[in-house]
Amino acid sequence: MAIIIRLDRILADRKMKLNELARLIDLSPVNLSNIKTGKIKAIRFSTLDAICKTLECQPGEILEYVED
């Protein structure tokens, strides 16, 4: 897929664990792990909003377009 999720990089920058972010945005760790590993087809604006608010970042920092 051409869209890559860079959640692991942002989490490393913020020194935050996946489980902690999952607890803060009220999402199950399994689902957040699926987002992190790109095992999803789409992401809701509400989920993206919660992640950006918690990690204090822009959506562009999480999503990256890579040409195939």
């Binding site: 999402l27 689902n31 699926n34 987002i35 095992k39 999803i40 087809k41 789409a42 992401i43 809701r44 989920t47």
Partner: protein, 207 residues
């Protein structure tokens, strides 16, 4: 409150379908057992006469004086044995073939359909989505079987009766339009289920 009522409705529907499923199995099994015994009962127990729409038959096993155990009855359509004189017909074979093709085979299709609907309602009771690939496949299969039986069932009956019950070959192609309609509706419904399956997958993989 509303979901509880819905759950109760599904539960009632599930019980009803299970009841009809087991009843159908019992009926089909009794029919098959009756067919096995048809070769051992005397000719006097078999009634086979020309009716308005076809050859009407019934088998009543005599139990004693004045009492009989009713086994099977049916009607072979006029177009199949119409031109054949009675003495040229192997009555027992004709009854067995007709009962198998006209009664047992549709019952088996109904049993398969009821089993799948029962599994579906069972999954709905367990809060599982009804849009699953296994139901899509079985719905498609049942639709194909119903379509095939509706279009070729009568022809198959003609051929089998010609082979086993009469020394006279005649094939008539008669469609069961209601069966064709049910098969086509089943196929259309399976297409709708496929779209539902796609939407379910999209929903499940959207976080």
């Amino acid at each position: 409150m509303k979901s509880k009522t819905g759950c109760k409705n599904i539960s009632n529907l599930h019980s009803l379908i299970r009841f009809f499923y087991y009843a159908s199995i019992v009926f089909a099994a009794s029919g098959l057992i009756a067919l096995v015994f048809i070769f051992s009962i005397p000719y006097s127990a078999i009634s086979f006469e020309k009716g308005i729409r076809g050859w009407v038959y019934s088998v009543n096993m005599p139990l004693g004086i004045g009492s009989a155990f009713f086994m099977i009855s049916g009607e072979i359509p006029k177009n199949i044995l119409h031109f054949i004189p009675l003495d040229m017909i192997n009555i027992r074979a004709a009854i067995v073939v007709d009962f198998l093709i006209s009664h047992i085979v549709p019952f088996i299709i109904v049993i398969i359909g009821l089993r799948e609907i029962g599994n579906l309602t069972s999954d709905m009771l367990n809060k599982k989505s009804p849009f699953q690939a296994k139901y899509l496949k079985s719905l498609r299969k049942i639709s194909y079987i119903v379509l095939l039986y509706s279009t070729l069932g009568n022809t198959l009956l003609c051929i089998l009766i010609s082979i086993f019950a009469a020394d006279y070959f005649s094939v008539t192609v008669v469609f069961s339009w209601i069966g064709v309609l049910i098969g086509v509706l089943g196929y259309i419904f399976s297409d709708i289920t496929e779209y539902g399956l796609f939407l379910q997958d999209e929903y499940d993989t959207t976080l």
